[in-house]
């Protein structure tokens, strides 16, 4: 099925909650209301044979004050794909988890929670996956500031070239001292 056919099937089921595909030419996606995501995903799995969630990513848009969650769906039986997007408020990104629909969402959602702070409600085990449990902040946010140290371990390291700069200065000073008659 093409993207447009899938959109029509969705529109027939969910009515005006389904908008138009954007952009129309290639690689289009469909923005759906965040409140309906689980219902739509379940319909897509059961009726449209989307048996696999192949990717789940979140994108931070500070200018639009939004965090987008993108679902890339794939069907092994029908060999078609689809892209769903939900747009969340950047101050409180919260969307229902699709883990009950596809088990793959478990780890994919944990990763996005860790790196972008999207709160997937109803997820069975929503905790950090890449960063340590007591890390502060979500690294892939555009305004993320890394903490200076973690458990007294510095998170930054001096540029090793600066040691050479210091050495040069030291040698220069030593040479000047030698030249001056004591």
């Amino acid at each position: 099925m093409t993207f447009e056919e899938i959109r029509e099937k969705l529109a027939a089921k969910f009515g005006e909650r389904i908008g138009a595909l954007a952009p129309a030419n290639k690689d289009s996606w469909l923005v759906v209301p965040a409140a309906d995501i689980v219902e739509i995903c379940r319909f897509m799995k059961d009726e449209l044979a989307f048996d696999c969630l192949m990717n789940l990513s979140a994108i931070d848009w500070p200018k639009r004050n939004q965090i987008e969650v993108v679902y890339h769906l794939w069907s092994y039986s029908k060999l078609h794909s689809f892209i769903l997007k939900v747009q969340l408020d950047r101050a409180k990104p919260e969307v229902a988890s699709v883990e009950p629909v596809w088990k793959a969402a478990d780890w994919l959602e944990r990763e996005q929670y860790d790196l972008l702070g999207v709160n997937f409600t109803g997820h069975p085990d929503l905790r950090r996956i890449m960063m340590p449990d007591d890390w502060v902040g979500h690294p892939l946010l555009k305004d993320y500031k890394e903490q200076a140290s973690w458990h007294n371990i510095s998170t930054t390291r001096e540029n090793s070239l600066e040691a050479y700069v210091r050495l040069d200065e030291f040698l220069k000073k030593a040479a000047e001292k030698k030249e001056q008659p004591s």
């Binding site: 690689d27 048996d51 192949m54 994108i59 890339h72 060999l79 793959a104 890449m130």
Partner: protein, 391 residues
């Protein structure tokens, strides 16, 4: 002076105990420096003797935030970093990134460059699978096949070094083509290697794949039903071993794969049940044979024009919010890049969906009721590579 607040083992275990209901069971840490976990991965094994109740993978020890680096580099500048996504099969990560950006730009890659890419990738697939089958047999106690596999891999490393100057992190592909054309005499050299290697594969099968002890050890071990594999989004040889006939090269063809003839080995439970650890091992061995077939066709068909680059603008600038998705069949399966263009010369968001990451997600479910010794075989059979999980 302020006293150091280093977390002690006791504190960490308390943290863990708070999370998991352990009851009267033992909680063991397997890793992160365990020799057979294929890199720095930790498994929290909850056990009551030899049989595990659960093994919870803890990843993130190799997290370098390559996705964040991708947002800060230019499109061309990110290419060397993609090597580090999966250092055992770096060519594929290169190709995935190049294909994603080419899709954004609408660039056509010259035929010759496509052939160079596929030759490099298929050589890399063989070398990656050699590591996989070699370490897997070593992990379960057969030491001999490992040096056999690594000896063959040395040939490929030499071939790839001749091609691009590096033995591990190749940085061979460019957006719109490849960096270098094939050196003179390269086609003959690869041909000689293939003549030698196809015989070795039969020897390898005699040595380990159809070895009776090996089969007894792996048959019916941790089988993954097809439905479960799809639900957990397993990809590549792991998925095919479960009996799903899906290969990105066949079903979602890219590059020059539609012109090439090869079979896709699918697990059929030859010695046990479909989708067991032996099937995953066998799938990799057979894939190497198919890679040889692909390579032979590439070497015969490669055009002579030696045109390595398409028409790519010097500075890549794209409309903000434009996005592309690329899928390639890497050694560890369906490797996917999702790129959203930013306003300037770099991407707004890069997401890399790797095969190892989703393969790790299934271990918790599979490990219930498994023996501790079998966990090692399970991890090895899924062929996870730590940097690819964490990126």
């Amino acid at each position: 002076m302020k006293p150091l607040e280093v977390p002690t083992m006791e504190m960490e275990n308390k943290e863990v105990l708070r999370r998991i209901e352990v009851g009267g069971d033992m909680l063991l840490n397997m890793g992160p420096q365990h020799p057979s976990t294929h890199g720095v991965i930790n498994f929290l094994v909850q056990t009551d003797g030899e049989v595990m109740k659960r093994a919870i993978p803890e990843v993130g020890y190799l997290h370098r935030s390559i996705e964040k680096i991708g947002e800060r580099c230019t499109y061309n500048g990110f290419m060397p970093y993609t090597d580090r996504v999966d250092y055992i099969a770096a060519m594929f990560a290169n190709q995935g990134w190049a294909m994603a950006v080419e899709r954004l730009l609408g660039v056509q890659v010259p035929k010759y460059a496509e052939y160079c890419r596929i030759i490099a990738c298929e050589l890399n697939r063989i070398s990656s699978h050699l590591i996989s089958v070699g370490t897997m047999s070593m992990d379960i106690g057969a030491v001999t096949p490992f040096p056999y596999a690594l000896r063959e891999r040395e040939f490929i490393n030499d071939l790839l070094e001749e091609l691009c100057g590096a033995r591990l992190t190749y940085n061979y592909m460019r957006i719109g083509g490849v960096a270098f054309e094939l050196p003179s005499g390269y086609v003959e050299k690869v041909g000689t290697f293939l003549d030698h290697f196809e015989k070795i594969l039969d020897e390898f099968n005699r040595l380990i794949t159809y070895n009776e002890i090996f089969i007894k050890r792996l048959a019916k071990l941790a089988p993954i039903p097809a439905q479960m594999a799809i639900d957990y989004c397993l990809v590549g040889p792991n998925l095919r071993a479960s009996g799903v006939n899906f290969d990105v090269r066949k079903q979602v063809p890219y590059s020059i794969y539609p012109e090439l003839h090869f079979d896709v080995p699918v697990g059929r439970g030859e010695v046990g049940v479909t989708g067991d650890s032996w099937d995953r091992f066998w799938c990799r061995v057979e894939e190497m044979r198919q890679s040889c077939r692909i390579l032979r066709q590439c070497l015969a068909q490669i055009p002579a024009d030696a045109q390595i680059m398409g028409k790519v603008p010097r500075k890549i600038k794209l409309a903000e919010g434009q996005e592309a998705y690329s899928r390639i069949e890497s050694a560890r399966g369906d490797l996917q890049y999702y790129v959203v263009a930013g306003p300037g010369e770099n991407a707004h968001r890069v997401k890399i969906r790797t095969g190892s990451f989703t393969a790790m997600g299934i271990i918790d479910a599979l490990s219930r009721g498994l023996m501790i010794a079998d966990l090692v075989a399970l991890i090895a059979s899924l062929d996870v590579v730590a940097p690819e999980i964490d990126r």
